[in-house]
């Protein structure tokens, strides 16, 4: 099974949405947690879960960013 895609997606969402601004990055992370995904639960060793990956794709769409 592939690993680490979820963490990569989360990191990319935070980076793209905050444009590298660290204060905004904290807020974006909070928004992601309030949407029901806790970034701290996922590492580069986390198995890819298609359901979470789909949720993150939807979340990226909501934020208006392309992964």
């Amino acid at each position: 099974m592939e690993k680490g895609t979820i963490k990569q997606m989360i990191d990319r969402i935070i980076l793209l949405r905050s444009c590298g601004n660290s204060a905004i990055a904290v807020t974006v992370k909070t928004k992601i947690i309030l949407k029901g995904i806790n970034p701290d639960k996922y590492t580069s060793q986390t198995d890819d879960d298609p359901q979470i990956i789909r949720k993150l794709q939807d979340l990226a769409d909501e934020f208006g960013i392309r992964l």
């Binding site: 947690i33 934020f63 208006g64």
Partner: protein, 370 residues
């Protein structure tokens, strides 16, 4: 003077508004007058009278479940704050109703964008801040805050209007009118430094609950940890199901963000489900919380911001009604009021607090530096 707070307990609207006008007259040209009025005042009359009394300013507010003004917690009163241009460079407000299922934030934001000649998507959150006031019985807060958060980095802070715990009808006030089923958004461009204070008074217990089955629309959790919600909650606290509701106030749940809880407060039990005052999504990990010293924690939060800003020129406090009830039950309302003795402050007891999302048992405050 750049900002003044006022309060009145006159029961008649004309006398109450005249008293506020008299107290606020030292701000010669207010840019904005914000007010929070007990639900005991007739809504349409108070909205019209406040608009007329301060016709040169942007006037808005909402009904309450209790009021806060510098040094005091009040009941059955109106509190108001006048702010001049040195604090509020510009402001535009919108009352959006009805609060629909399909939330069209882009059309709301287009009004702000035209006014300020900005894109809300790219607006600098250090230059702009939003105030948001909801009909407190709308159940719409989470959806609106989520859509707003998707569309902008500007922070919207605020609360859900109250009605003195009658849970019958709450109002937001703008344009001389009282609105129900409405969300009021204000976008401010302050002329001074500003920041948000978010404070809640809980310790984190080691017990965790994972929401494994929920009904989001009803703010209900059916199962925690794959057990009936109330059973899992009672087990986490080591209490019996029959008496565990007594712990709701002192043991809410926390969605942890950077070690700080976004509090979710249980309201009641219904057929084994736990109904909360805000939504819990399926899969959320929640920490069981234990209440701590609200007076101490609030004082520290204010002091920290005061030390950072030098002096606070104005403070708007969106204060959960559950915190007010807790203070009342311990005879601490006077002491809480004194925390704000020397800070121009108004606020109200809310049916929910807003800051990035919707939360409970929290005080969210907008602070302006001198």
């Amino acid at each position: 003077m750049h900002t003044i707070t006022a309060y009145t307990s006159h029961t008649e609207v004309p006398a109450a508004v005249a008293e506020l006008q008299d107290q606020l007259k030292l701000v010669s040209q207010p840019k904005c007058v914000l007010y929070f009025a007990s639900a005991s005042y007739p809504s349409e009359k108070i909205a019209a009278a406040m608009e007329e009394a301060f016709s040169g300013a942007t006037v808005f507010g909402c009904s309450t479940a209790g009021e806060i003004v510098s040094g005091k917690m009040l009941k059955h009163s109106i509190v108001a704050m006048a702010l001049d241009q040195s604090i509020i460079g510009d402001i535009v407000i919108q009352a959006v109703s009805p609060i629909e299922e399909q939330i069209d934030v882009s059309s709301v934001f287009s009004v702000f964008e035209k006014h300020y000649h900005i894109s809300m998507r790219d607006a600098d959150p250090t230059q702009y801040v939003g105030i948001i006031l909801f009909d407190g019985l709308s159940f719409a807060e989470e959806r609106w805050m989520d859509k707003i958060g998707n569309a902008t980095d500007v922070v919207f802070i605020g609360g859900s209007a109250g009605d003195d715990l009658k849970f019958s009808r709450t109002y937001v006030y703008a344009h001389g009118r009282a609105y129900t089923n409405t969300v009021l958004l204000a976008l401010l461009k302050p002329n001074c430094k500003f920041d948000i204070i978010k404070t809640q008074s809980f310790q984190t217990l080691p017990q965790q609950l994972i929401a494994t089955k929920v009904e989001e629309a009803h703010r209900a959790v059916i199962e925690f940890n794959n057990k009936p919600a109330i059973t899992a909650y009672a087990e986490a606290l080591g209490k019996s199901i029959d008496t565990v509701a007594e712990s709701f106030m002192s043991n809410p749940l926390g969605l942890m963000v950077g070690g700080e809880p976004y509090v979710r407060s249980p309201q009641r039990i219904s057929d084994g489900k736990m109904i909360f005052y805000c939504t819990i999504k399926e899969g959320m990990d929640l920490q069981v919380l234990q209440s701590s010293d609200m007076i101490r924690d609030t004082r520290e939060a204010i002091l920290e911001k005061k030390n950072e800003f030098g002096e606070l020129q104005a403070l708007i406090n969106f204060h959960c009604i559950l915190r007010t009830l807790d203070l009342e039950s311990h005879g601490l309302t006077e002491e809480y009021g004194h925390i704000f003795d020397h800070i121009p402050t108004i606020g109200f007891s809310t049916y929910g607090e807003e800051y990035i999302g919707h939360m409970n048992q929290t005080a969210t405050m907008l602070a302006f530096a001198a």
